[in-house]
Symmetry: C2
Subunit: 250 residues, 2 copies
Amino acid sequence: MTEEQYLAAYDPRAYPAVAVTVDVVALTIREGVLHLLLVRRAEQPFMDYWALPGGFVRPGEDLPAAAGRELAEETGLGGEELHRVHLEQLASYGAPDRDPRMRVVSVAYLAFAPDLPEPSAGTDAGDAEWLPVAALASRRLAFDHERIVADGLERARAKLEYTPLATRFLGEEFTVAELRAVYETVWGHPLHAGNFHRKVLSVPGLVESTGATTEHGGPRGGPRARLYRAGDARLLHPALLRPATEETTR
Amino acid sequence: MTEEQYLAAYDPRAYPAVAVTVDVVALTIREGVLHLLLVRRAEQPFMDYWALPGGFVRPGEDLPAAAGRELAEETGLGGEELHRVHLEQLASYGAPDRDPRMRVVSVAYLAFAPDLPEPSAGTDAGDAEWLPVAALASRRLAFDHERIVADGLERARAKLEYTPLATRFLGEEFTVAELRAVYETVWGHPLHAGNFHRKVLSVPGLVESTGATTEHGGPRGGPRARLYRAGDARLLHPALLRPATEETTR
DNA sequence: CACGGTTACTCTCAGTCTGAGTAGTTCTCA
DNA sequence: TGAGAACTACTCAGACTGAGAGTAACCGTG
């Protein structure tokens, strides 16, 4: 049998029905606080629970495209604004009982976004909101989304160490202090301003100077800060390591 | 409609047919050379091409279980031997045209194994072999498996830096020199023996002493080496960084 | 048995990186 | 105008790293 004959005779229905979805862990920083995008489910199962934005992958649609589409639907973002959003695959979740309807394998994506506007409710979501991640502890999410969020947050924290993705939470131009605020927000503890400044400028390709400064000092005083834009590095050498994760190593 | 009523009326066939498979990038070290497990396809499509061991996820089967089953089928390993194999999810691949038969989303797993016996051909594979990864360049693999292997190798190299997984390529007890050989083999270049020794013993939880030594010196002389077993650390602090990846950072 | 070659392990030293603190300067707010 | 705050630069001690050398144990050979 040639490959052509084989394909003509092939019956996809012979295999068990599995659905593939994408779910997006979208993170942004609003007013100095790390936020996660959630939608309220308007359908069974888990109706009225908060959940990650996501949905079924369409026929012929690539996985990253599906993730981008779901993100755009919930946030109301157009193609241009999506351009500055970093989207990467996180992991896949396929426990047999994770969805009571049928076997569903979900490919989760992680998104880093600059401060985005208030979300617009999408087609299959009654409501959508940016929730501070600190408020997650008191909220039960649909399906296994709590685990997906936990994995996403850990990935995000780790990625700041060895990639320049922290700049993806900021606009085109930013100050060193703004970049430091991103690290402090995501990692959850303060950093030494002087050492951070030295480190950021010494790592090749992290930032490059624009030559300009802010037009005013900070709201509580201080001189004008120099402006930088993201550099061309994709990996940071040496990395910006977060201090002492001793308990988490065992 | 209650959730129960909803589920009773739910029709899974309403959604497009997608198949979910697992593929395993299984790595081991044989005679000082990094090897990858490949199987020769006995069916269309890509008949007679070499491919990663893998196959369809069975109904009710969890994803890691499917990966372990595929690995066991190809290697002939029993449950006990599989116990020392490290298995972790790598990534998922779901481009619409990656399989000419139908839409297939594959969840790839990465396996680190101590020196395993010659593979035994599985049910749906005509042949199986351990191939030195250096020989991969001259071999075209089925589907998008070349990209999956490349991602797996890069993940493996990175994981040696900040986890104790290098010990998973060795037996229960090993010497520092054997551990160094793992790093040199996976990273592909020699390391400074003295500095490596100092580093391995100074990182908390990487190895712990057994108190014993090898019974003889090396085949070409040298004193008996002290034996160690894997420690209890899951993350290495500080990490064992590989030298100078400067070109790869841009 | 003696010897050269090889290996395991230790030590030293210089260069680099990090954390912590200090200081000068510029700016905002009261 | 003065207090407070922030940006940036500098210093210093400690830790870590790469490179090299040294000691001792062990193998094979003559």
